[in-house]
């Protein structure tokens, strides 16, 4: 008999690259598995719109299939989609990008983020990012051989990241600053002044800024400031965006990166070898979204806003203090009133009241003490979830 029995896999972690072994979570996996096995759960744990894609957008894709648009597109993406993306960003934020050379169509922002990191990072390069932050940010940096460096953000300052706090963490190895506002998981929006201060820090230290603006259209009562539109930053900015959140197109997997020519060329190289091109029918749908989807966006935003007001008020009323999120579709209440950790809170809430929220700790150390509640679900469900959470909090109030 050989040392290793036939059919028995070797120790898994030894086969896996150390970079990958290093990736968090997966304390949270257990929680997901538990959730998947339960019935009658109201989930505030979702990170996508509860709308189906507006039909005229889907219809454009259906027509494209009927006409036989089933081949690869150009690696950079369909020229018309790049043109429409440039036009859209020019109209919205007054920024100029050349559809030939400064825009790459990707498989969602997820791919764009990965490409950006792989294109710019050498081993050991540091990327500064706010904590808490979207789960892929630190992972993508690690996978690209870099080191994520966290800047704590706090509820008291609306989870905005401060330029001085960023500057304090800059070392000789710092390559870039990664921003994601409006933010998942906090719903925070960055004001123009604060972004200008960060731009100044980036300029002084010669750093790139990667700005993930996938939630740009989901802001309430405030204007979104596009980082790339700030004066003088375009040459050192990688702007990421997409269609998933604004047009309810998560499943289509289509997004974009805009950056100076040499960076887009580098990202396109990786994209060409790993992806080829974003799905053709999804690109067709994205063109339709940019051309005729504006009314849909506005209607959905109005609707999210109503639910936002309901959930924020409701959370505060049941004793979970919640700063007012001005973007995305998340509320990020503090659970300090209960004295539970965010994982304990989420697990007990699920088991006792069948409401799913995401522990804030999944998004970084500074997310501990908070939970993420997505309000992209029906008002009736939000209200029922609030009832159940109210009962839960009064049972678990810190003595």
């Amino acid at each position: 008999m050989s040392a290793r029995q036939v059919g028995q896999p070797p120790e898994k972690h030894k086969l896996i690259a150390s970079r990958v072994n290093r990736l968090s979570p997966s304390g949270i996996r257990k929680f997901f598995d538990l959730l998947a096995s339960m019935e009658g759960v109201i989930s505030l744990g979702v990170g996508e719109p509860d709308y189906a894609t507006p039909w005229h957008i889907s219809e454009a894709a259906v027509r494209s299939l009927e006409k036989g648009y089933t081949m690869y597109t150009s690696n950079s993406g369909m020229p018309e989609l790049r043109q429409e993306t440039a036009r859209y960003l020019k109209e919205k934020y007054g920024i100029d990008y050349d559809p030939a050379g400064e825009i790459l169509i990707t498989v969602g922002v997820s791919e764009a983020l990965d490409l950006a990191m792989r294109a710019i990072l050498d081993p050991g390069d540091e990327v500064i990012m706010p904590d808490p932050h979207y789960v892929a940010y630190d992972s993508c940096v690690i996978l690209a051989g870099g080191e994520p460096v966290m800047v704590p953000t706090r509820q008291e300052s609306g989870f905005e990241v401060d330029a001085a706090d960023i500057e304090a963490r800059i070392t000789a190895k710092t390559k870039a600053i990664l921003l994601g506002y409006p933010a998942n998981p906090t719903g925070a929006v960055m004001g123009r002044e604060k972004l200008l201060a960060i731009a100044e820090v980036a300029r002084r230290h010669g750093l790139l800024v990667i700005s993930d603006e996938i939630y740009a259209r989901l802001v309430y009562g405030v204007e979104h400031t596009c980082y790339a539109g700030l004066p003088g930053v375009k040459d050192s900015t990688i702007l990421l965006g997409g269609f998933s959140k604004a047009y309810a197109m998560t499943g289509w997997r289509v997004g974009y990166a805009l950056a100076p020519r040499e960076i887009i060329a580098a990202m396109t190289k990786i994209h060409q070898y790993t992806i080829m091109s974003a799905p053709t029918m999804a690109q067709v749908a994205a063109i339709e979204a940019l051309k005729t989807g504006e009314a849909d966006v506005q209607e959905m935003v109005e609707d999210y806003n109503r639910r936002r007001l309901v959930i924020v008020k409701g959370l505060c009323e049941i004793g979970l203090s919640c700063f007012e999120p001005r973007g995305a579709f998340y509320a990020f209440p503090s659970i300090a009133a209960t004295g539970l950790t965010s994982e304990e809170f989420s697990e007990k809430l699920l088991l006792e009241e069948k409401v799913a929220v995401v522990p804030g700790s999944a998004f970084g150390g500074c997310g501990e003490g908070y939970v993420r509640c997505c309000y992209a679900t029906s008002l009736a469900e939000i209200e029922e979830a609030l009832n159940r959470m109210g009962r839960f909090v009064s049972r678990h109030r810190r003595k």
Partner: protein, 160 residues
């Protein structure tokens, strides 16, 4: 602001004044006052449930009836339209451009009752030149709602 309230109520007539106040950021008293006024001004006509009668055993026949009329010298189409609208069977009535003038949606217990309405009531009204009746074979969408039970696409319960 009244528009915001109306949109919310049009989507769900059971939304309370208190809920609307939260959703719009207006004081409850103000919301209730605006609703009362809108009712008085016949901006809000009534609060009703959207019923899918196809789901219960209930014989109901729907017909779209095109009516060609001779407009009256003084009142134009209004006098005759308002007269036709008085019939309980007439669910909706529109003046339309095109090859006919009035479009009626008529609901009856059977094809006979609808036929009776056309031949005995509608045809006798002065000014009605002719009618074309289309019986509805199947309703797919009504007032913005799909009538067939969709599969209900399920989202993943947690997405980070």
């Amino acid at each position: 602001m009244l528009k915001d309230i109306l949109k919310i109520l049009e989507d769900d007539a059971r939304t309370t004044g208190k809920q609307i106040a939260t959703m719009t950021g207006m004081p409850v008293a103000e919301v209730n006052k605006l609703i009362k006024q809108a009712e008085k001004d016949r901006i809000i006509l009534k609060y009703q449930a959207l019923v899918n009668w196809d789901r219960i055993e209930d014989e109901q026949v729907w017909a779209l009836i095109e009516v060609k009329v001779t407009p009256e010298p003084e009142a134009g189409f209004d006098a005759i339209a308002e007269r036709i609208a008085q019939f309980n069977q007439v669910r909706s009535l529109y003046l339309a451009s095109g090859t006919y003038d009035l479009l009626l949606i008529v609901v009856g217990r059977s094809e006979h009752t609808v036929a009776d309405f056309v031949s005995q009531n509608l045809a006798h009204i002065g000014g009605v030149q002719g009618t074309v009746t289309h019986f509805v074979l199947k309703r797919y969408k009504y007032d913005g709602e799909m009538l067939a039970a969709g599969e209900g696409v399920k989202r993943q319960p947690v997405i980070l």
